[in-house]
């Protein structure tokens, strides 16, 4: 029997992997994928809580509504983000974050 905790643990692992990737990776595209992974972890958590939060035998749909919003927002974020990354690539011929060092101090 798969319980709420199983879902939560998997989601937490996803979140941790994503966070570690954001911190450790240097390629912006990889970082971006890791960020998406963190959002997925949050979505999984939301759906799991929703499924196990029964109201009159039915799941609580508020959390699932948020999941749809999150997916939409993530799509918008990717669209804008990739555009900026492409612009950066055009300017630098590189998507390595260690080259982004003009602003310091």
């Amino acid at each position: 029997m798969i319980t709420l905790n199983h879902y939560l643990v998997v989601a937490a692992m996803l979140f941790a992997i994503g966070l570690a990737g954001v911190v450790a990776r240097r390629n912006i595209l990889t970082i971006y994928m890791c960020l998406e992974m963190m959002l997925s972890a949050a979505n999984l958590t939301l759906v799991a809580f929703s499924r196990f939060h029964l109201h009159d035998g039915l799941p609580d749909y508020h959390a699932q509504a948020l999941v749809f919003f999150t997916i939409t927002v993530a799509a918008a974020e990717v669209a804008v983000g990739l555009a900026i990354i492409v612009a950066l690539y055009r300017a630098r011929q590189s998507v390595d974050v260690t080259t982004v060092t003009k602003l310091q101090g």
């Binding site: 963190m38 972890a41 949050a42 958590t45 939301l46 612009a87 003009k102 101090g105």
Partner: protein, 492 residues
Amino acid sequence: MSAHNIEIALAVAAVALLGLDAFVPTLKRDIIPKLSIGLVGLALLAMFFAKGDTPAYLASYYRIDSIAMFYKVFALVATLAALIIAREADPVIAHFTGTEGPSTRIAEFYILPLIVCVGLMWMASAQDLISVFVPLELVTVTFYVLVAFARRSAVSLEAGVKYLILGALSTGILVYGIAWIYGATGSMTFAGIAKAVGAASTSKSALIVGAALLLAGLGFKVAAAPFHVWVPDVYQGAPTPVTAFLSVGSKAGAFIVLTRAVQALTATGSQISGEVQTTLLWSGVITILFGSLAAITQTQIKRLLGYSSISHAGFILLALAAGDSARFGISSEGVVAFYLATYLPMTMLGFLLLAVLRSQGVAEELSQLQGLSKRSPGMAFALAVAFASLAGLPLTAGFIGKMLVFLAAVDKGWYGAVGLAVVGAAAGFYYYFRPILAAYSAGKPEDTALRWSLPAKATAAVLVLAIVTLGVYPKALQSALKQNIVLTSAGK
């Protein structure tokens, strides 16, 4: 007209303007900026006649109380100021986007702020975490575009990428935090959370995980330590009007959400109010100290204002942590709103002057300000007022804000925290006075007189007046805020 209709109308108008820009190629360059400013002005006007009723289908997501009204007006004023600054910065933006000719346009630069404004206004009324999340992301994603807008400028692009990554990171953390809070309390609405935090059946550990993630996610947006690292780079790199809008508008939006979240999490009987309070307190103190001490060595004014914005965020966090003070008769949300209201004119004035100076070839370096009092006495005077107020000189707006924060903290008996905050404020006197000193010292003989356009001059005059008025007659604002407190506590 109800307030939410104004927001919807503004969103529709923004989309219509985008369409106008896309499908009418013969449009003159300055039509869209003017339309945009006009629309915001109209919305501001309509706001004063708006009714506070909310339709039933929105009731659990959205409520119009007076504090929401305050933040809506605040968002509109900030947008208006940002658009005016944008017009002053137009030549610089055009240079970095390759749209210098008269037949070209940079219409999005004037339309996207409207969309941000709608997000900020909606956020002010949000009553549940979904209706917090969506406008917050609307604002953040729009700012990704705005920060990186000057795409031929290496620094703007770089700032854009940094803001993009850290913004997306904070979004991830925020949603995960929302998920855990939902998991712990079984509710998405602030009212439901406030009820559940005190219940014995609520798991304290799940609540702490959720609250910590939520506070971290919002901490990114308000630039609270230790999530402030992106601020100096992004503020320096972004186009000046965007920096201004980011530091005032986006920050205020995040703070209204933070206010409501903290109110819900520390509601009467909450299991975690102590933890939340301590976190906010020390995050606030560290934020103040970091912002103030790191600013001391800065010579780049935009960057300096970035650090200044960090330190001001710290003061607001302190006010949030301190909560209401019966002895001094001030409420936490009132102080936060008051502080932001004082922060708006002084920050906007600073950035307005930077934009005007930059468009005439004066770079944002301290040394470039020398001789400003000769080149334009008015600008030097406005600069002195703005920075004196940022420093918190008595009889300016900045002093009253800081004083209220200190009083609230003293009432809690947090003398150590107050002492550290005072150190931060004292350091502020050093670095805020350097630009004033530079502006009034002798310049080079070849310096020419500087000009500023009538709108810029008028805006500066209004902002100076606002700073002085709030400094010597804060009662007007407090009376307006007083009503809020009554209304919200009735609705709680």
